[in-house]
């Protein structure tokens, strides 16, 4: 069963931007797209561990600030021809509030 945790207001995340949620298992990056969808990923690029939360968001993708790996926000997959995957966590918006469900297994650093 999914247990949802309230993490803040949608307006506190910039459009085409990201904020970090700290957890004991490592940081989770919460992204907001232009159309106000939210996605949550471990804040680690599958390439060299770069903080994805610091990258440029475009459409439903983010570019890692360290070496320009491009990651799909929905799946955590690196865009071909790059390879690799970052764990995703369910996230949703209800009435302007962002909810996150942390997958414990995935959050292990």
């Amino acid at each position: 069963m999914t247990s949802w945790i309230e993490i803040g207001a949608l307006d506190d995340i910039p459009r085409l931007g990201s904020r970090v949620v700290r957890t004991p298992g490592g940081n989770i990056a919460v992204f907001r797209t232009e159309s106000d969808e939210v996605f949550a990923l471990d804040d680690r690029c599958p390439h060299k561990g770069g903080p994805l939360s610091q990258g440029i968001v475009h459409n439903k993708r983010v570019t890692c600030p360290l070496h320009n790996f491009v990651i799909e926000l929905a799946s955590g997959q690196a865009v071909a021809p790059d390879e690799g995957c970052t764990h995703t966590h369910p996230a949703k918006v209800e009435n302007g509030i962002v909810w996150l469900s942390v997958r414990q297994a995935a959050a292990v650093s």
């Binding site: 904020r19 700290r22 903080p51 600030p65």
Partner: protein, 819 residues
Amino acid sequence: MLDKVTKQKLVVIGNGMAGIRTVEALLERAPDLYDITVFGSEPYGNYNRILLSPVLAGEKTVDDIMLNTVDWYEDNNITLRKGETINMIDRRTCEVVTEAGERVPYDRLLIATGSNPIMLPLPGKDLPGVIGFRDIYDVDRMIKASTDYRNAVVIGGGLLGLEAANGLMKRGMNVTVVHLLDTLMERQLDPVAGGLLRKSLEERGMVFKMPAQTQAILGEDRVTGVRFGDGTELAADLVVMAVGIRPNFELAKKAGLYCERGVVVSDTMQTYDGRIYAVGECVQHRRQTYGLVAPLFDQAKVCANHLAMKGFATYDGSVTSTKLKVTGIDLFSAGDFAPGPDKEEIVLQDANRGVYKRIILKDKKIVGAVLYGDTIDGPWYFQHLRDGTDVSHMRERLVFGAANLGDGGVSGQNSVAAMSDETEICGCNGVCKGAIVKAISEKKLFTLDDVRAHTKASSSCGSCTGLVEQVLAFTLGGDYSAAPKVKPLCKCTDHSHDDVRRVIVEQQLKTIPAVMRFMEWKTLNGCHSCRPALNYYLLATWPGEYRDDQQSRFINERVHANIQKDGTYSVVPRMWGGVTTPSELRAIADVAEKFNIPTVKVTGGQRIDLLGVKKEDLPAVWADLNDAGMVSGHAYAKGLRTVKTCVGSEWCRFGTQDSTGLGVKLEKFMWGSWTPAKVKLGVSGCPRNCAEATCKDVGVVCVDSGYEIHFAGAAGLHIKGTEFLTKVETEDETLEVIVALTQLYREEGWYLERMYKWCDRVGLEQIRKRVVDDVANRKALFGRFAHSQQFAQTDPWAERASRGVDRNEFAPLAELELA
């Protein structure tokens, strides 16, 4: 998604490289728009026709040169009808008619029928044993003949003929090449290079009969020999006609489409019937026909764009280069090398080394190049040729190539052919030659962009681009698709940097979405390449009006610090002209201790770097530095970085002027300005040049009688001394010239293009004219820079440390304590 019933039907006639490249490009742009059917008369998938020569020579197999297997067509829902020929196009009913009489309807039609080898109308041309050199079938017949027979005659001493002759010779045949003229490959080579080529082919055992005209092919049941115009005869069991190709446009002509030497197409690759497109060797565009692969790819892109109904990119013709695919012979030719009254030549000839280079210049630009024996700089000359670079400033060293100009980065050290597979090509990403070659062959890569995407080579600093292009050329046999002449800003658009800058001004576009809408961006929000570029262009064009878009800034410029490999940041406070005080140093020491900053390092730009600062500590670190009177050093910015100075006349016994004071003055005036790429200044107090001003973006060398202003230097990826711009008498004039120069660069430079690259592209004289000679223009440039500084000179650290700007950026959204 549209289903099959409602989809438009695209029929492609011709299953060769041009047609399928168009289909591939179309699928990238609009995967679901058409229901696609491809007719090909050959019984194969699509293969790389350029590589038939290596197959003939036994260096590659047919499988090696397959580009699209039958599975590919299935995977992409394309109906491939191989081995089927189209006999007629019925334009009235919009149908094509197959050989068997079946009628297949189309909404759009693409003609890519390629070309046929020219078969000379000689007596005996239809005898068994007389063949052309065009497809796998021809190659199979030649290979078969080489096992059964001994003597071959190749008619035609052009590219194709020599490659055929080489292949047959490698298969053990005695080969004589018959050529009508006295220069081999006369379309690509001048007589000297042609002579060198002939000599080295003769050393390998090839025999030439030239100039000679073939009069008849002899034989009754099978070819037995050839008779020439002078009456002599030569025995032959195999005759290969390789005198050229002729665009295959019979079908189009029969359908009433306007044809001359090929199907005539517009800049959007449409024939006179707007529903019918044509690409490849069968077309005639602006009176040109092409038989090489690079133009086909350019055409395919434009055609696909139009078919996908995405904008209207146009094809403006191609400049082509050629490399002979005979292993062990290095030969390169590009552009126009016929002598002419308005052309100048630079020639280097070293007969013993077997090296010949001829560069042809016109109006200070390279218009042609012929290289023999040492072709390493071929791509480099070709790049300058296509870019139309003004090469007058490097003219005296031009013939020695990129390495001698310090323009090639690490390239030019070695011929890639001689490198071992373990040789590192891309130092940034650690990619060696073997990995690139493997990716090219296994993944069927054709372009520099493909190689960048798949291997990461040349995708970071780009200084190995020349080498990677050489590896491509070497692996593909030379005829790879060079990067297009006008580079699009990024993959999200076909427009160039210049187009975008021009349209922003003309159309008064003032936001990133407005630019993307107006210029029909192909992606929703652009990408990490174009967004920062657009943000800069808007900022530079509309100072005070445009609102800086933080989400389009690279992280370093968003948080005003430099991200490090572990996700921490480094902080560099400004030290004006490299001058500091005990109290500033004390404050830096206190900050370093207070925040447990692990590394404190002196930078090359005469300042101090605090490394390993946690992001959430940044505002507090800045607050302490601000309190001691220090501001951001913009060490992270595409903007003014440092002004390096020596102590000058204030202390130094050799100093001629107050270089430190001038440096501080420049830095105080120019700090905070955003530029296309970083800008570093240097001011030296005398020609001993202790501030190393002559390898900076802008450098001042003080002399007793005034100030020499230099610019366009670099000491990073490339080492390049500055160009001398002008000499002035006062500090104020120095400031005015440097500021005006920087403003011109701000207005014209492409994003991420360093000042020396901009100067290379625009030309030193052009810049000098507008910054030095035209005083009114200089003052106007200065005025625009000064205006923009009103809005730029706010310390970004103070805003964030004490005024709460971007507070959310530095704090986590939430902290969770999970059970």
